[in-house]
């Protein structure tokens, strides 16, 4: 396996190890992947956080766990087509080949793909779909658990009934018309009923079986997951032999692991390290996706209640400096609510540039000529949050320049989101800083900008936005939805319930031996074409 294994002691001091390696001029050597004669090699990915529960939809480690683990083991009836990098991905068939919706806009019929086998060799069919939906939605099913029900509810909650129409067709009926139903189903993962029966529903995470490109080998819970190529994968066997994902929450530890060859791919390298990684031969892959780093402001009380004040703050931020100098081009400035890599983005909607004078004028108009004091809760880390505290500090300083004195209160990401999911702000601030990937999961959009969301949205409410979201949701026509979303998001831009800061470009650093990655305009990615040479 590894020829130049670092001593455990050195591995325990990753920053120091990295320093030594810089001094001795070693670059990413990809030793982790020099897996003897294995053709496609072993890809070892250093992830930024805890890895997910491997039982289908439970996840629980943010979207990063989904992209690197859950979506590699399992598929839904549909999937994102992540083969290209030029446009936001569209939905295509996975375990279903085609679908149609009836006149009532609620009854969907899915034709299932022939000849697909689960990784345990059992056949995929309509009964498997019904079995999995029972496990997620039917409290009377012996395989249903509360955790599964809660997790599946986000995407499958609108399903009223389902049944098999023969062996290769299923009918799903939604409670309300849902135009983005095929998109939602990409997240409703289908597992092998036979495997679930064998292990029992509670222990399925120990031996998960799906239809995805990689099958499960072993794991150290939350820390490391080892997968191997599914040779019988219906789209063709992936080039890689093995895929290992390991949790390395510390950015310096990730960079050190890449340099030492313990991993040959890292997610989110520290932007300040990118130049030196590049100089050492690493490839830095980036692309836009539906990401926004923003502050959610409390629009119900205090100074942020006044839209002029919220707009003023948006004009006060020097986003270009954050994107260019702090993040070294791994993010783009966000001038509006819609992230640039979404089908709802319209360049004409770019509204907020850097204009401190205008900010001061708006503040004076709103009666805050002398500025005001406020507070924001900022997470110290978290999937997709980039460099949360440094970005927040840059925003804080820009706001201070126009008289808005924002106190930063830091807390850990789990504390922040668990309070947010209950409609609260950790540490009781008037704003929270966070990031989100909204638009490739349309089902979630109303949670962020709709009235009466169970999440904390700063109490934002605009009936026109609600109406447009409802109209979009009901429409199976993508162009129609695009128009509705565009209008809704331009209203959000104008209302400015958020401070729009940057759109991430999803940077990852790859050892020179890693070939064949197409970086899509998505948080998710397709690893079937990736290989690791010697």
């Amino acid at each position: 396996m590894t020829h130049h294994r670092r001593s455990p002691r050195l591995a325990a001091l990753p920053a120091a190890a990295a320093l030594l390696l810089t001094a001795s001029g070693c670059g990413p050597s990809g030793t982790a992947a020099s897996d003897g004669a294995a053709k496609g090699g072993t890809l070892v990915i250093g992830a930024t956080g805890k890895l997910p529960n491997t039982d289908t939809v439970i996840g629980g480690a943010g979207f990063e766990g989904k992209r690197l683990v859950s979506f590699q083991i399992y598929e839904g009836l549909t999937r994102y087509d992540l083969s290209g990098g030029d446009a936001p991905p569209e939905i295509t068939g996975a375990l279903a080949t085609s679908w149609k919706v009836a006149e009532d806009r609620r009854t969907w019929t899915f034709e299932l793909r022939d000849g697909v086998e689960f990784q345990d060799g059992t056949p995929f069919d309509a009964a498997a779909v019904v079995f999995n939906l029972d496990r997620y939605l039917n409290e009377k099913s012996a395989y249903w658990t509360e955790a599964l029900g809660a997790a599946a509810g986000e995407y499958a909650g609108g399903i009223k009934s389902y049944r098999a129409l023969g062996g290769d067709r299923v009918e799903l009926v939604t409670a309300e018309p849902n135009g983005h139903f095929p998109e939602d189903l990409a997240h409703v993962l289908i597992a092998s009923p036979d495997a679930i029966r064998k292990t029992g529903t509670k222990d399925f995470a120990r031996k998960p079986v799906g239809t995805g490109p990689f099958s499960f080998v072993s794991q150290r819970e939350g820390q490391r997951v080892e997968l191997k190529a599914n040779k019988a994968y219906w789209r063709g066997a992936p080039k890689l032999q093995r895929l290992v994902v390991t949790a390395l929450p510390d950015a310096a530890a990730r960079t050190a692991a890449l340099r030492s060859g313990d991993v040959n791919w890292i997610e989110y390298p520290n932007p300040d390290d990118i130049a030196s990684l590049r100089a050492d031969g690493a490839t830095i892959a980036t692309n836009s996706y539906d990401h926004l780093w923003y502050w959610i402001l409390d629009t119900t009380k205090g100074p942020w209640k006044d839209a002029r004040v919220r707009r003023a703050a948006n004009y006060a931020i020097n986003r270009d400096a954050i994107a260019k100098n702090l993040l070294h081009g791994t993010a783009d400035p966000a001038h509006q609510a819609a992230p640039r890599a979404t089908f709802a983005y319209d360049k004409a909607g770019d509204t907020y540039g850097y204009d401190p004078d205008k900010a001061r004028r708006l503040l004076a108009e709103a009666g805050h000529a002398k500025g005001f004091s406020t507070s924001v809760t900022v997470p110290t880390g978290g999937s997709g949050n980039l460099l949360p505290v440094p970005i927040a500090e840059a925003v804080q300083r820009d706001l201070a320049a126009v008289g808005i004195r924002a106190e930063i209160r830091t807390t850990d990401w789990t504390t922040l989101i668990s309070a947010e999911a209950k409609g609260k702000v950790a540490l009781g601030s008037q704003a929270i800083a966070q990031s989100t990937t909204l638009f490739q999961s349309e089902a979630l959009l109303p949670l962020f900008i709709g009235t009466g969301s169970p999440f904390w949205t700063g109490g934002y409410s605009n009936r026109k936005v609600d109406a447009l979201l409802a109209s979009a949701s009901a429409s199976p026509d993508r162009e129609r939805r695009r128009a509705d979303y565009r209008e809704a998001l331009s209203l959000v831009t104008e209302d400015a319930p958020w401070l729009f800061v940057v759109n991430d470009r999803n940077p990852r650093a790859l050892a020179p031996q890693v070939k064949g990655l197409v970086q899509p305009q998505s948080w998710f990615l397709d690893l079937t074409g990736v290989s690791v040479g010697s």
């Binding site: 920053a15 320093l19 950015a251 400096a321 110290t380 500090e393 300083r397 930063i408 850990d412």
Partner: protein, 295 residues
């Protein structure tokens, strides 16, 4: 690194002695040097706003991570483009407050508890000492983190949590000293002549206990500065953009690979303070004649 260990002196009977005035001696260099440096640190911390060339939050993202010697920034700039010299100077105050206040609080509280345990009768003594043993069961920094986590992050949280951590150690030192003298004849004499418990504690016991406790406490300052820095490093201390050495260390940590010469600066400041106060404590300890075996 010269960090004192929080282990308490052993509880064991020591022969009773009567206090006597020690002859006043001119302190040797071992005391004078660290004492002068400690005073200098306090002066710098107090006068920092006058000394610092820039404000703590001033800077621009276009001048990030400039190396030492950059124009206008003798020690360079941090990840937000702020002047490091200014932030180190301005950070001295919260860093020292985080180190000194908890020690002060622990000294006062610990001395009172130690004397109360020593003079208060067997039941009180056992109750007090055993409940402090519970706190001893946790490693100091873990206890500090646990306490700080339930408070709102900030300097107050740092001071409170470190006070909780340090008090048991001071109590043990004070208690041991009380045990040493509590059977002494002059205490008996005071009691016989009608002095109440309070009067005995304040007039007879405190003057004996205080020098020993003060010497021990000054050696805790270095430890407290390191702990306070640790709490800020974990995001449980001061809030950004306030300059505090532990927080600065955390902020510069990502630059450890690219700019090690900047990233080590706050660490050096923490080390320097820790060494100065350890040396001071050591010198004081020798001066008041606390015997080695007590340590």
């Amino acid at each position: 690194m010269a960090v004192p260990v929080l282990d308490p002196p052993l509880d064991r009977p020591v022969p009773a002695v009567t206090p006597r005035r020690r002859p006043v001696r001119w302190p040797g260099a071992a005391l004078a040097v660290p004492a002068a440096l400690a005073v200098l640190l306090l002066v710098v911390a107090t006068a920092a706003p006058l000394l610092a060339p820039h404000g703590a939050a001033d800077g621009s993202l276009t001048g990030r991570l400039l190396g030492p010697g950059a124009p206008g920034h003798p020690l360079g700039t941090d990840g937000q483009g702020r002047d490091l010299l200014s932030r180190l100077l301005l950070g001295a105050r919260p860093s020292l407050v985080g180190g000194l206040l908890p020690v002060l609080a622990a000294t006062v509280l610990g001395t009172a508890l130690g004397i109360a345990a020593g003079l208060g009768g067997r039941a009180t003594e056992q109750a007090l000492l055993r409940s402090l043993d519970v706190l001893y069961a946790f490693p100091g920094i873990l206890l500090a983190i646990a306490v700080a986590t339930v408070l709102t992050p900030g300097l107050t949280a740092t001071v409170l949590s470190l006070s909780v951590v340090l008090t048991p150690a001071v109590t043990r030192v004070a208690h041991t000293e009380v045990r040493r003298i509590r059977a002494a004849e002059y205490l008996e004499a005071a009691r016989v002549s009608g002095a109440g418990r309070g009067a005995v504690a304040v007039r007879q016991v405190l003057p004996v206990v205080a020098p020993v406790v003060l010497a021990y406490a000054s050696s805790l300052v270095g430890l407290a500065v390191v702990y306070a820095a640790g709490l800020s490093f974990l995001g449980l201390g001061v809030a950004p953009p306030a300059p505090e050495w532990g927080a600065m260390l955390d902020e510069l940590r990502p630059a450890l690979l690219t700019r090690p010469e900047l990233a080590v600066l706050p660490a050096l400041a923490i080390l320097a303070v820790s060494v100065v106060f350890n040396a001071l404590g050591e010198a004081l300890r020798r001066r008041v004649g606390v015997r080695e075996e007590l340590r």
